[in-house]
């Protein structure tokens, strides 16, 4: 059996083929320009001074020595941010939101995590800037930190914000709290569902904070011109989001901010927040020079992105026939220093794979003294899946039901209503489960002691949001495709393929370019598995616009009504006169002499969801002496709807799996008792290397999404969801005891073995 299988239902000419990506040559030769590669006349380098404490009051900041240091051009603190001179009266109901956003960029009264920015310097070189930040004197009054949700939820917990009140199912509490919000989903009658069950299991789970781990550190270059035009070059998943955030925090007109997205070295959800951009802009304004800021790897760990650590409880009931009757779930997610964990998404994903008649999910968003959490691939879903799928696995063991069979009996399918409301359209979970059961991995028995097999399913919404594409026809019959979606993993190719397919021209005849925020309509982030779906949709609509204009032009040239002209397979023809026929290329050549060039444009905001599902199989072997887990074999099955570029779909699946393996086995923020991260380097924060892994086998299932012209569902998020439970369950089977806490590093596995 081959290791990469595509179960295709529909064949196209360009879509579904494995083309060379347009930006490929630049990326294998070192020519591609990433954010850190920006060079500008008079460019200064900046450094950020960060808090050494996890929780402290800022008593005073003295920047005079840094300002006097030779080679220093500007020093900024939170006092330079507009928020410092705004009052509650100025901002009204927006006060707290802007306060949190501004203080996150640079702390004013309090530092809330180790690594929280307190000041920044622009100087003639990084080394001089580094010298200068060490000359800044900050007086802190250290406060005990609250580091975990359990700690932070205690009644006498150390409070991060004295003005944060719990939003309790929509009502504000009367006492400040670290619990920012409590939300709930309910369906059916939970008590009745538990009564109907023959087996009821309740288990508790914990997962650690983990980082997205992109190899390129955050960077930002800004130039604030004397006329008020602010230009920013940065590596971001969302140039328009950066534009909005920068304009908001700096109280600057959005039209005076231009963000140029450079090539980006990984994001996974972690490169959406504007961390450095407002600071670089302030330094530039003060120095009247362009300023570049780069984070070190330690800064990346300590001050950007982690996915939340969690505390979860799951109670599931099922009949002896293997039907789930009830699910009662408690999720408490770390938000980091400011509210906004993905607990809502975790709650909505927790039971999405199953038709559960009676369910209750309570979710808590809890602030702790860690960096503010950021999105990480299917935010919230992997943790929730770890808890729910692990309990399902244990129920299967108790009932003696095959885990794939159990999931098939309960699987979500068309018409099933999710606990938070939406009803599924045509989805492919059943097909994924069947493909897993038919795979030779599933049929092949384990072949040694201390081995275990795990299986788990996972879900992500795959929503659309806004995208824009312009397509201009060149005189040689090729087209230029202008898009606002940053290309992180081959999306130039997948967007160009959809345009080429729609126009009926060759893939090589579409030249895609990603442009700045002045040059294309609003486009949401490259994230949430939305790009190939929504920007692909925009490309299809822009291509349809081109086709319509080409038909009009042919009609004009042939002096015939538009209705007589047909566009098919990249050619225009007269419906009744076979003599009148032009290829796309032939007409393209005539455009300039017959009324000017043609540009098709589209702005889309597709509603509905792609709804992606995956099912993973993993075999592990546990070393009984050391507790070390080896991944022996891994197979990921996923419904892609339609794989526009199968190689990059496989790449998303394999990459997501390996991030999940790291999350399950090794990765973890390790803090000392003062809340300081002790493993903020790639040496100590151990991500998987090539040596730790086998090949990752894939099966792409194609159950077309009825809500997309080519059936695309989006693929990037789902593959990080099943690995946590699949690996946890595989280890549990290998050692005969349950793994309910991640990471399952050697020490934890030894402990679980007892």
């Amino acid at each position: 059996m081959t290791s990469n299988i595509v179960l295709s239902e529909v064949e196209y000419n360009v879509v579904g083929k494995r083309h060379i990506r347009p930006d490929g040559v630049d990326k294998v030769t070192g020519r591609a320009q990433y954010g850190a590669d920006v060079q500008l006349t008079g460019l200064l380098q900046g450094r950020v001074l960060r808090s050494p404490h996890a929780h402290a009051r800022v008593i005073s900041i003295d920047t005079s020595a840094a300002e006097a240091h030779p080679g220093v051009f500007a020093v900024v603190t939170a006092a330079d941010l507009p928020f410092a001179s705004l009052t509650r009266d100025d901002l009204g109901g927006d006060y707290q939101r802007l306060k949190f956003a501004s203080n996150h960029v640079m702390a004013s009264d309090k530092v809330l995590f180790k690594g929280h920015p307190v000041a920044a310097v622009a100087a003639e070189s990084q080394h001089v800037a580094e010298e200068a930040i060490n000359l800044i004197k900050v007086d802190y009054e250290v406060i005990p930190p609250s580091m975990t949700v359990r700690q932070a939820m205690e009644p006498d917990a150390s409070l991060l914000h004295d003005d944060l009140f719990t939003s309790e199912l929509g009502q504000l509490s009367d006492k400040p709290s670290n619990v920012a919000s409590h939300m709930a989903f309910e369906a059916g009658d939970i008590d009745e569902g538990i009564k109907q069950a023959d087996v009821v299991l309740e288990r508790e789970f914990e997962t650690a904070s983990v980082h997205q781990g992109y190899i390129e550190p955050h960077n930002s270059t800004a130039f604030w011109n004397t006329d008020g035009q602010l230009n920013i070059w940065t590596s971001t998943q969302g140039p328009f989001v950066v534009r909005t955030n920068v304009a908001d925090i700096l109280r600057h007109p959005v039209s005076r901010v231009k963000v140029t997205p450079m090539e980006i070295g990984g994001g996974f959800g972690g490169k959406i927040t504007a961390y450095l951009e407002p600071i670089a802009a302030l330094l530039s304004k003060k120095s009247a020079r362009p300023v570049k800021l780069l984070m070190s790897r330690t800064e990346v760990f300590e001050a950007s992105g982690p996915a939340p650590g969690t505390w979860m409880k799951v109670k599931l009931g099922a009949t002896s026939e293997g039907k789930i009757t009830a699910a009662d779930i408690f999720l408490a997610f770390e938000a980091g220093a400011y509210p906004g964990s993905p607990v809502m998404q975790g709650a909505a994903c927790a039971l999405a794979c199953y038709d559960v008649p009676n369910a209750r999910i309570n979710g808590y968003d809890v602030v702790v003294n860690k960096p503010k959490t950021a999105a990480y691939r299917a935010p919230g879903s992997p943790q929730a899946a770890f808890a729910v799928e692990s309990v399902i696995d244990e129920i299967c063991e108790q009932l003696g039901v095959d885990p794939v069979e159990f999931r098939l009996r309960n699987a979500s399918r068309e018409g099933v209503r999710r606990v938070e409301g939406p009803v599924f359209r045509r989805i492919g979970l059943v097909e994924c489960l069947e493909a897993a059961r038919n795979h030779d991995h599933y049929k092949m028995p384990l072949n040694g002691p201390n081995q275990g097999r795990g299986i788990a399913a996972g879900f992500w919404f795959n929503r659309g949001f806004q995208s824009a594409v312009n397509i201009s026809v060149n005189p040689d019959g090729t087209v230029n495709l202008i898009e606002g979606s940053v290309d992180i993993g081959g999306s130039r190719a997948s967007i160009a393929q959809q345009a080429a397919e729609t126009l009926g021209i060759a893939y090589e005849d579409v030249k895609p370019t990603v442009v700045d925020t002045d040059s294309i309509g609003y486009t949401m982030v490259t994230g949430g598995s939305r790009t190939t779906f929504a920007t692909g949709w925009a490309a299809i609509e822009a291509a349809e616009d081109v086709k319509m204009q080409m038909v009009e032009r042919a009609a004009k040239i042939w002096d015939t009504p538009v209705e007589d002209v047909e566009y098919a397979d990249g050619a225009l023809s007269h419906k009744s006169d076979p003599e009148l026929r032009m290829t796309f290329r032939e007409l393209a050549r005539q455009l300039l002499g017959t009324g000017g060039g043609i540009t098709g444009a589209s702005n889309v905001d597709p509603t509905g969801e792609g709804n992606g599902f995956g099912v993973h199989l993993v075999d592990v072997e546990v070393d009984p002496d050391t507790g070390k887990v080896t991944i022996l074999r891994y197979t990921a099955v996923q419904d892609a709807g339609k794989a526009i570029h199968p190689s990059y779909v496989e790449g998303q699946m394999q990459g997501g799996v390996v991030q999940g393996i790291g999350w399950a086995l090794n990765e973890e923020y390790f803090f000392n008792d003062q809340g300081q991260m002790m493993n903020s380097s790639f040496l100590d924060y151990r991500m998987p290397t090539a040596l730790d892994l086998p090949m990752i086998d894939t099966v792409i299932v194609e159950v077309a999404n009825p809500g997309h012209p080519y059936g695309v569902r989006g693929v990037g998020e789902v593959p990080i969801v099943p690995p946590l439970p699949a690996i946890g369950c595989a280890i549990s089977h290998a050692i005969g005891n349950r793994i309910n806490r991640l990471p399952a590093n050697p020490g934890a596995v030894l402990e679980a073995m007892g």
Binding site: V28, G265, Q654, V658, A690, I696
Partner: protein, 158 residues
């Protein structure tokens, strides 16, 4: 400010002179002094391999080498892997096998993979995984990278 040091070296076969501060790493010199930004910074402490270059025939992470140490040495970087005739087979194999997603680790992987195949043209999967363990990739899960290196072996023999 510390004084600048004059360094004479060879980069990608070309005799090259530059001035640098004694505290500047070779990575900084390549990127900031010479404008050769193909070599990437991922961690600046020798753990990710994005800044991999060849230094007198040995693989090094250029963030852990000082610029002044380049005196009299032969350095080759990602910019020297392709020739006027076209891409190196390793580069071509990375393209055809979709062995890159974001591409930030790619220059380091290509320099390291080429070094392996130059000395061990028949390296098997296990050997490739061992050799490339010093280069971190967060996007691909390494599967397609390993396959690309195996494919490059075939291309180099053809």
């Amino acid at each position: 400010m510390p004084g600048l040091v004059h360094v004479s070296t060879t980069i990608n076969g070309n005799p090259t002179d530059f001035l640098c501060e004694p505290r500047q790493s070779l990575l900084e010199v390549l990127r900031d002094v010479l404008g050769m930004t193909g070599t990437k910074e991922g961690c600046n402490d020798g753990n990710c391999g994005a800044c991999t270059v060849m230094f007198d025939g040995r693989i090094v992470t250029s963030c852990l080498v000082l610029g002044v140490e380049a005196q009299g040495k032969e350095i080759s970087t990602i910019e020297g892997v392709a020739s006027p005739e076209g891409l190196h087979p390793v580069q071509q194999a990375f393209l055809e096998n979709a062995a890159l997603q974001c591409g930030i680790c790619t220059p380091g992987f290509i320099v390291a993979a080429k070094a392996l195949l130059d000395r061990e043209p028949d390296a098997d999967e296990g050997r490739i995984r061992h050799w490339l363990a010093g280069n971190l990739c967060r996007c691909t899960g390494y599967d397609k990278i390993v396959r690309a290196v195996l494919d490059a072996e075939d291309k180099m023999k053809a």
